[in-house]
Protein backbone atom coordinates (compact mmCIF):
# COMPACT_ATOMS: atom_id res chain seq x y z
CA UNK A 1 0.00 0.00 0.00
CA UNK A 2 1.37 3.37 -1.04
CA UNK A 3 0.16 6.65 0.36
CA UNK A 4 0.46 10.31 -0.55
CA UNK A 5 -0.58 12.82 2.05
CA UNK A 6 -1.22 16.51 1.64
CA UNK A 7 -2.66 19.16 3.86
CA UNK A 8 -4.02 22.48 2.66
CA UNK A 9 -5.33 25.43 4.65
CA UNK A 10 -8.67 26.80 3.52
CA UNK A 11 -10.97 29.66 4.50
CA UNK A 12 -14.17 28.75 2.72
CA UNK A 13 -17.56 29.68 4.14
CA UNK A 14 -19.87 27.02 2.69
CA UNK A 15 -23.40 28.40 2.61
CA UNK A 16 -25.44 26.35 0.13
CA UNK A 17 -25.76 22.68 -0.66
CA UNK A 18 -27.74 21.31 -3.58
CA UNK A 19 -28.47 17.62 -3.93
CA UNK A 20 -29.03 16.77 -7.59
CA UNK A 21 -29.66 13.61 -9.58
CA UNK A 22 -28.82 12.74 -13.15
CA UNK A 23 -29.50 9.84 -15.48
CA UNK A 24 -26.38 8.55 -17.25
CA UNK A 25 -27.28 7.19 -20.67
CA UNK A 26 -24.74 5.70 -23.09
CA UNK A 27 -24.74 3.59 -26.22
CA UNK A 28 -21.53 1.86 -27.28
CA UNK A 29 -22.02 1.26 -31.01
CA UNK A 30 -19.47 3.55 -32.62
CA UNK A 31 -16.55 1.16 -33.12
CA UNK A 32 -16.91 -0.23 -36.66
CA UNK A 33 -15.23 -3.61 -36.15
CA UNK A 34 -17.16 -4.59 -33.01
CA UNK A 35 -20.21 -6.71 -33.74
CA UNK A 36 -23.32 -5.74 -31.78
CA UNK A 37 -23.78 -2.91 -29.34
CA UNK A 38 -23.99 -2.20 -25.63
CA UNK A 39 -26.43 0.12 -23.92
CA UNK A 40 -26.36 1.25 -20.32
CA UNK A 41 -28.59 3.35 -18.12
CA UNK A 42 -27.26 4.50 -14.77
CA UNK A 43 -28.32 7.03 -12.17
CA UNK A 44 -26.24 9.15 -9.84
CA UNK A 45 -26.82 11.53 -6.97
CA UNK A 46 -24.42 14.42 -6.39
CA UNK A 47 -24.00 16.87 -3.60
CA UNK A 48 -22.80 20.34 -4.62
CA UNK A 49 -21.51 22.78 -2.04
CA UNK A 50 -20.92 26.44 -2.79
CA UNK A 51 -19.83 29.41 -0.76
CA UNK A 52 -17.46 32.29 -0.28
CA UNK A 53 -13.67 32.18 -0.14
CA UNK A 54 -12.91 34.30 2.92
CA UNK A 55 -9.17 34.29 2.16
CA UNK A 56 -9.97 36.73 -0.65
CA UNK A 57 -11.55 39.14 1.85
CA UNK A 58 -9.00 41.90 2.49
CA UNK A 59 -8.90 44.59 5.20
CA UNK A 60 -9.83 47.20 2.57
CA UNK A 61 -13.10 45.39 1.92
CA UNK A 62 -14.26 45.87 5.54
CA UNK A 63 -15.17 49.41 6.58
CA UNK A 64 -16.42 50.20 10.08
CA UNK A 65 -17.71 53.40 11.61
CA UNK A 66 -19.17 53.01 15.10
CA UNK A 67 -22.21 50.75 14.78
CA UNK A 68 -22.00 50.81 10.97
CA UNK A 69 -20.16 48.20 8.96
CA UNK A 70 -19.78 47.63 5.24
CA UNK A 71 -18.30 44.43 3.81
CA UNK A 72 -17.59 43.59 0.16
CA UNK A 73 -17.46 39.83 -0.21
CA UNK A 74 -15.91 37.85 -3.06
CA UNK A 75 -18.38 36.16 -5.42
CA UNK A 76 -19.63 32.68 -4.56
CA UNK A 77 -18.10 29.68 -6.24
CA UNK A 78 -18.41 25.90 -6.21
CA UNK A 79 -16.33 24.56 -3.32
CA UNK A 80 -16.80 20.90 -4.12
CA UNK A 81 -18.92 18.26 -5.76
CA UNK A 82 -19.32 14.89 -4.08
CA UNK A 83 -20.73 11.80 -5.81
CA UNK A 84 -20.54 8.94 -3.35
CA UNK A 85 -19.81 5.47 -4.80
CA UNK A 86 -23.04 4.12 -3.26
CA UNK A 87 -25.04 6.85 -5.02
CA UNK A 88 -24.14 5.55 -8.49
CA UNK A 89 -26.44 2.74 -9.60
CA UNK A 90 -26.84 0.78 -12.80
CA UNK A 91 -30.53 0.66 -13.65
CA UNK A 92 -30.38 -1.24 -16.93
CA UNK A 93 -27.88 -2.59 -19.39
CA UNK A 94 -28.24 -4.45 -22.65
CA UNK A 95 -25.21 -6.19 -24.12
CA UNK A 96 -25.12 -8.02 -27.45
CA UNK A 97 -23.96 -11.66 -27.52
CA UNK A 98 -20.51 -10.89 -28.95
CA UNK A 99 -19.75 -8.03 -26.60
CA UNK A 100 -18.45 -7.96 -23.02
CA UNK A 101 -20.37 -6.52 -20.12
CA UNK A 102 -19.45 -2.99 -19.05
CA UNK A 103 -16.52 -3.29 -16.67
CA UNK A 104 -16.42 -1.37 -13.38
CA UNK A 105 -13.75 0.90 -14.90
CA UNK A 106 -15.96 1.68 -17.90
CA UNK A 107 -18.92 2.44 -15.62
CA UNK A 108 -16.66 4.66 -13.54
CA UNK A 109 -15.58 6.53 -16.69
CA UNK A 110 -19.23 7.14 -17.59
CA UNK A 111 -19.93 8.42 -14.08
CA UNK A 112 -16.89 10.71 -14.35
CA UNK A 113 -18.41 12.18 -17.53
CA UNK A 114 -21.64 12.80 -15.61
CA UNK A 115 -19.62 14.47 -12.85
CA UNK A 116 -18.12 16.83 -15.44
CA UNK A 117 -21.52 17.60 -16.98
CA UNK A 118 -22.92 18.48 -13.52
CA UNK A 119 -19.91 20.67 -12.69
CA UNK A 120 -20.16 22.44 -16.06
CA UNK A 121 -23.86 23.18 -15.42
CA UNK A 122 -23.17 24.93 -12.12
CA UNK A 123 -24.18 28.38 -13.42
CA UNK A 124 -27.57 27.20 -14.63
CA UNK A 125 -28.81 25.46 -11.48
CA UNK A 126 -28.77 28.56 -9.28
CA UNK A 127 -26.55 27.34 -6.44
CA UNK A 128 -24.20 30.33 -6.67
CA UNK A 129 -27.07 32.79 -6.17
CA UNK A 130 -28.32 30.75 -3.20
CA UNK A 131 -24.79 30.69 -1.75
CA UNK A 132 -24.50 34.47 -1.96
CA UNK A 133 -27.97 35.01 -0.46
CA UNK A 134 -27.23 32.61 2.42
CA UNK A 135 -23.78 34.15 2.99
CA UNK A 136 -25.38 37.58 3.26
CA UNK A 137 -27.94 36.30 5.77
CA UNK A 138 -25.35 34.46 7.86
CA UNK A 139 -22.84 37.33 8.00
CA UNK A 140 -25.63 39.81 8.67
CA UNK A 141 -26.86 37.74 11.66
CA UNK A 142 -23.31 37.23 12.92
CA UNK A 143 -22.53 40.95 12.77
CA UNK A 144 -25.81 41.74 14.56
CA UNK A 145 -24.70 39.43 17.38
CA UNK A 146 -21.47 41.44 17.52
CA UNK A 147 -23.52 44.60 18.08
CA UNK A 148 -23.55 46.22 14.65
CA UNK A 149 -26.80 48.00 13.84
CA UNK A 150 -26.26 49.27 10.31
CA UNK A 151 -24.88 46.48 8.16
CA UNK A 152 -24.18 46.66 4.44
CA UNK A 153 -23.01 43.56 2.58
CA UNK A 154 -22.04 43.71 -1.07
CA UNK A 155 -20.35 41.39 -3.50
CA UNK A 156 -17.43 42.25 -5.73
CA UNK A 157 -18.62 44.10 -8.89
CA UNK A 158 -22.28 43.80 -7.94
CA UNK A 159 -24.53 44.94 -5.13
CA UNK A 160 -26.35 42.24 -3.19
CA UNK A 161 -30.04 41.80 -4.01
CA UNK A 162 -30.89 41.57 -0.30
CA UNK A 163 -29.60 45.03 0.47
Amino acid sequence: MEEVLALKNMSELATAEYVVTKIIKANDNNTWYKAGDRKILMSCKASLVAGIDLSKLTVNQIKTNGEQISITLPRAHLIYINIKPEDIKTAYQQVSFFRDQFSSEEKNQLAAQAQKQITDAIDSIGILNSAETNATLFINNFLQKLGYKNIQINFNNQSNPLQ
Binding site: M1, E3, V4, L5, A6, L7, K8, N9, M10, S11, E12, L13, A14, T15, A16, E17, Y18, V19, V20, T21, K22, K25, A26, N27, D28, N30, T31, R38, K45, S47, T64, Y80, I81, N82, I83, K84, P85, R99, Q101, S103, S104, E105, E106, K107, N108, Q109, L110, A111, Q113, A114, Q115, Q117, I118, I125, S130, N134, F142, K145, L146, G147
Partner: protein, 208 residues
Protein backbone atom coordinates in the same frame (compact mmCIF):
# COMPACT_ATOMS: atom_id res chain seq x y z
CA UNK B 1 17.84 -11.32 -64.55
CA UNK B 2 20.19 -9.92 -61.93
CA UNK B 3 19.56 -6.37 -63.21
CA UNK B 4 15.79 -6.92 -63.00
CA UNK B 5 16.12 -8.12 -59.39
CA UNK B 6 18.26 -5.07 -58.54
CA UNK B 7 15.64 -2.82 -60.14
CA UNK B 8 12.87 -4.34 -57.96
CA UNK B 9 14.99 -3.90 -54.84
CA UNK B 10 15.43 -0.22 -55.66
CA UNK B 11 11.67 0.23 -56.27
CA UNK B 12 10.78 -1.47 -52.97
CA UNK B 13 13.41 0.54 -51.08
CA UNK B 14 12.10 3.73 -52.68
CA UNK B 15 8.49 2.89 -51.73
CA UNK B 16 9.49 2.08 -48.17
CA UNK B 17 11.34 5.39 -47.96
CA UNK B 18 8.27 7.29 -49.22
CA UNK B 19 5.98 5.45 -46.75
CA UNK B 20 8.40 6.22 -43.91
CA UNK B 21 8.60 9.87 -44.94
CA UNK B 22 4.79 10.21 -45.24
CA UNK B 23 4.19 8.52 -41.88
CA UNK B 24 6.75 10.85 -40.25
CA UNK B 25 4.84 13.92 -41.44
CA UNK B 26 1.46 12.29 -40.59
CA UNK B 27 0.22 12.09 -44.19
CA UNK B 28 -0.75 8.45 -43.89
CA UNK B 29 -3.77 7.22 -41.88
CA UNK B 30 -2.59 5.49 -38.72
CA UNK B 31 -3.31 1.74 -38.54
CA UNK B 32 -3.33 2.09 -34.76
CA UNK B 33 -6.14 4.69 -34.93
CA UNK B 34 -8.10 2.59 -37.41
CA UNK B 35 -8.47 -0.19 -34.84
CA UNK B 36 -8.78 2.04 -31.82
CA UNK B 37 -12.07 1.72 -29.91
CA UNK B 38 -14.22 4.82 -30.07
CA UNK B 39 -14.81 6.26 -26.59
CA UNK B 40 -18.28 5.80 -25.13
CA UNK B 41 -19.78 9.23 -24.60
CA UNK B 42 -22.80 9.78 -22.38
CA UNK B 43 -25.81 11.68 -23.63
CA UNK B 44 -26.67 15.07 -22.23
CA UNK B 45 -29.54 14.52 -19.76
CA UNK B 46 -31.22 17.00 -17.41
CA UNK B 47 -29.96 17.62 -13.89
CA UNK B 48 -32.79 17.39 -11.36
CA UNK B 49 -32.51 19.35 -8.11
CA UNK B 50 -33.74 17.13 -5.26
CA UNK B 51 -32.84 19.13 -2.19
CA UNK B 52 -31.58 22.59 -1.26
CA UNK B 53 -29.90 23.12 2.10
CA UNK B 54 -28.59 26.21 3.81
CA UNK B 55 -25.18 25.79 5.43
CA UNK B 56 -22.89 27.85 7.65
CA UNK B 57 -19.77 25.71 7.57
CA UNK B 58 -16.37 27.29 7.82
CA UNK B 59 -14.09 24.90 5.92
CA UNK B 60 -10.57 25.36 7.22
CA UNK B 61 -8.57 22.27 6.23
CA UNK B 62 -8.46 20.06 3.13
CA UNK B 63 -6.62 16.79 3.50
CA UNK B 64 -5.86 14.69 0.43
CA UNK B 65 -4.85 11.09 0.50
CA UNK B 66 -4.26 8.29 -1.96
CA UNK B 67 -5.11 4.69 -1.14
CA UNK B 68 -4.62 1.48 -3.08
CA UNK B 69 -7.08 -1.23 -2.10
CA UNK B 70 -7.44 -4.71 -3.52
CA UNK B 71 -9.78 -7.63 -3.20
CA UNK B 72 -9.83 -11.14 -4.63
CA UNK B 73 -12.45 -13.88 -4.91
CA UNK B 74 -12.63 -17.42 -6.22
CA UNK B 75 -14.49 -16.98 -9.48
CA UNK B 76 -16.77 -19.35 -11.35
CA UNK B 77 -15.66 -21.04 -14.54
CA UNK B 78 -13.00 -19.95 -16.98
CA UNK B 79 -11.34 -16.59 -16.83
CA UNK B 80 -12.77 -13.89 -19.08
CA UNK B 81 -11.70 -15.25 -22.43
CA UNK B 82 -15.19 -16.19 -23.55
CA UNK B 83 -17.92 -13.75 -24.55
CA UNK B 84 -21.07 -13.22 -22.54
CA UNK B 85 -23.50 -16.07 -22.42
CA UNK B 86 -20.91 -18.82 -22.54
CA UNK B 87 -20.39 -19.67 -18.91
CA UNK B 88 -18.79 -22.80 -17.68
CA UNK B 89 -17.65 -24.18 -14.39
CA UNK B 90 -14.84 -26.29 -15.74
CA UNK B 91 -11.94 -24.46 -14.15
CA UNK B 92 -12.26 -22.26 -11.07
CA UNK B 93 -10.45 -18.91 -11.49
CA UNK B 94 -9.35 -16.19 -9.13
CA UNK B 95 -10.93 -12.78 -9.67
CA UNK B 96 -8.86 -9.78 -8.70
CA UNK B 97 -9.75 -6.12 -8.38
CA UNK B 98 -7.30 -3.34 -7.52
CA UNK B 99 -8.59 0.22 -7.24
CA UNK B 100 -6.65 3.42 -6.56
CA UNK B 101 -8.63 6.17 -4.83
CA UNK B 102 -7.47 9.76 -4.49
CA UNK B 103 -9.79 11.38 -1.99
CA UNK B 104 -10.13 14.67 -0.20
CA UNK B 105 -11.40 15.36 3.28
CA UNK B 106 -12.76 18.77 4.16
CA UNK B 107 -12.82 19.66 7.82
CA UNK B 108 -14.25 22.68 9.52
CA UNK B 109 -16.70 24.18 11.96
CA UNK B 110 -20.47 24.42 11.80
CA UNK B 111 -20.93 28.09 12.66
CA UNK B 112 -24.73 27.77 12.74
CA UNK B 113 -24.29 26.21 16.20
CA UNK B 114 -23.08 29.54 17.59
CA UNK B 115 -26.01 31.01 19.51
CA UNK B 116 -26.53 34.57 20.75
CA UNK B 117 -25.45 33.40 24.23
CA UNK B 118 -22.09 32.29 22.78
CA UNK B 119 -21.17 35.84 21.70
CA UNK B 120 -20.18 38.26 24.46
CA UNK B 121 -19.31 41.84 23.48
CA UNK B 122 -18.01 44.47 25.86
CA UNK B 123 -16.82 47.69 24.24
CA UNK B 124 -14.05 46.76 21.84
CA UNK B 125 -13.62 43.28 23.34
CA UNK B 126 -15.35 40.15 22.11
CA UNK B 127 -15.47 36.59 23.39
CA UNK B 128 -17.01 33.87 21.24
CA UNK B 129 -17.57 30.25 22.20
CA UNK B 130 -17.49 28.05 19.10
CA UNK B 131 -18.22 24.36 18.55
CA UNK B 132 -15.36 21.97 17.82
CA UNK B 133 -14.46 21.30 14.21
CA UNK B 134 -15.07 17.96 12.57
CA UNK B 135 -14.78 16.16 9.27
CA UNK B 136 -17.48 17.68 7.09
CA UNK B 137 -17.14 15.53 3.97
CA UNK B 138 -14.97 12.82 2.48
CA UNK B 139 -14.92 13.50 -1.23
CA UNK B 140 -14.27 10.59 -3.57
CA UNK B 141 -15.79 11.30 -6.94
CA UNK B 142 -15.81 8.94 -9.95
CA UNK B 143 -12.88 10.92 -11.41
CA UNK B 144 -10.89 10.17 -8.24
CA UNK B 145 -10.90 6.41 -8.84
CA UNK B 146 -8.66 4.41 -11.11
CA UNK B 147 -9.09 0.70 -11.68
CA UNK B 148 -5.58 -0.73 -11.84
CA UNK B 149 -6.50 -4.41 -12.21
CA UNK B 150 -9.91 -5.86 -12.98
CA UNK B 151 -9.83 -9.58 -13.59
CA UNK B 152 -13.11 -11.44 -13.78
CA UNK B 153 -16.62 -10.11 -13.49
CA UNK B 154 -17.28 -7.99 -10.42
CA UNK B 155 -20.71 -7.09 -9.15
CA UNK B 156 -21.56 -3.43 -8.64
CA UNK B 157 -22.04 -4.09 -4.91
CA UNK B 158 -18.52 -5.56 -4.58
CA UNK B 159 -16.92 -2.63 -6.42
CA UNK B 160 -18.87 -0.11 -4.33
CA UNK B 161 -17.87 -1.93 -1.13
CA UNK B 162 -14.18 -1.67 -2.10
CA UNK B 163 -14.56 2.04 -2.83
CA UNK B 164 -16.26 2.56 0.55
CA UNK B 165 -13.31 0.76 2.19
CA UNK B 166 -10.98 3.27 0.52
CA UNK B 167 -13.13 6.12 1.86
CA UNK B 168 -13.10 4.68 5.38
CA UNK B 169 -9.31 4.32 5.21
CA UNK B 170 -8.93 7.97 4.20
CA UNK B 171 -11.16 8.95 7.15
CA UNK B 172 -8.98 6.87 9.48
CA UNK B 173 -5.85 8.59 8.18
CA UNK B 174 -7.43 12.00 8.70
CA UNK B 175 -8.15 11.16 12.34
CA UNK B 176 -4.58 9.83 12.76
CA UNK B 177 -3.27 13.11 11.32
CA UNK B 178 -5.36 15.08 13.90
CA UNK B 179 -7.24 16.89 11.13
CA UNK B 180 -10.20 17.97 13.37
CA UNK B 181 -7.77 19.48 15.91
CA UNK B 182 -5.89 21.30 13.14
CA UNK B 183 -9.22 22.56 11.77
CA UNK B 184 -10.03 23.91 15.25
CA UNK B 185 -6.78 25.90 15.33
CA UNK B 186 -7.39 27.28 11.82
CA UNK B 187 -10.97 28.25 12.64
CA UNK B 188 -9.81 30.11 15.73
CA UNK B 189 -7.17 31.97 13.69
CA UNK B 190 -9.59 32.91 10.89
CA UNK B 191 -12.22 34.21 13.31
CA UNK B 192 -9.61 36.18 15.29
CA UNK B 193 -8.39 37.85 12.07
CA UNK B 194 -11.92 38.53 10.88
CA UNK B 195 -13.00 40.05 14.21
CA UNK B 196 -9.83 42.15 14.44
CA UNK B 197 -10.56 43.46 10.94
CA UNK B 198 -14.09 44.38 11.96
CA UNK B 199 -12.71 46.69 14.65
CA UNK B 200 -12.36 44.64 17.85
CA UNK B 201 -9.17 45.24 19.84
CA UNK B 202 -9.40 42.19 22.09
CA UNK B 203 -10.64 38.92 20.69
CA UNK B 204 -11.02 35.66 22.60
CA UNK B 205 -12.18 32.44 20.97
CA UNK B 206 -12.87 29.40 23.12
CA UNK B 207 -14.47 26.04 22.39
CA UNK B 208 -17.72 24.56 23.70
Amino acid sequence: MRNLFKKYIWIIAGLLLIILLFSKINWLPSIKNLFKSKPVVIESTPIVIREIKSLSNLITIAFTDEIVMDTAQIGEGLPDILPLGITTTLVPSVKKLVIIGRGKIVAGTDLSKITSGDVMVSGDSVHIVIPHAGILQTILNPSDFETFIEEGKWSEAAVTALKIKIRNKINEHAIQQNIPEKADERCKLILENYLTNTGFKEVAITFK
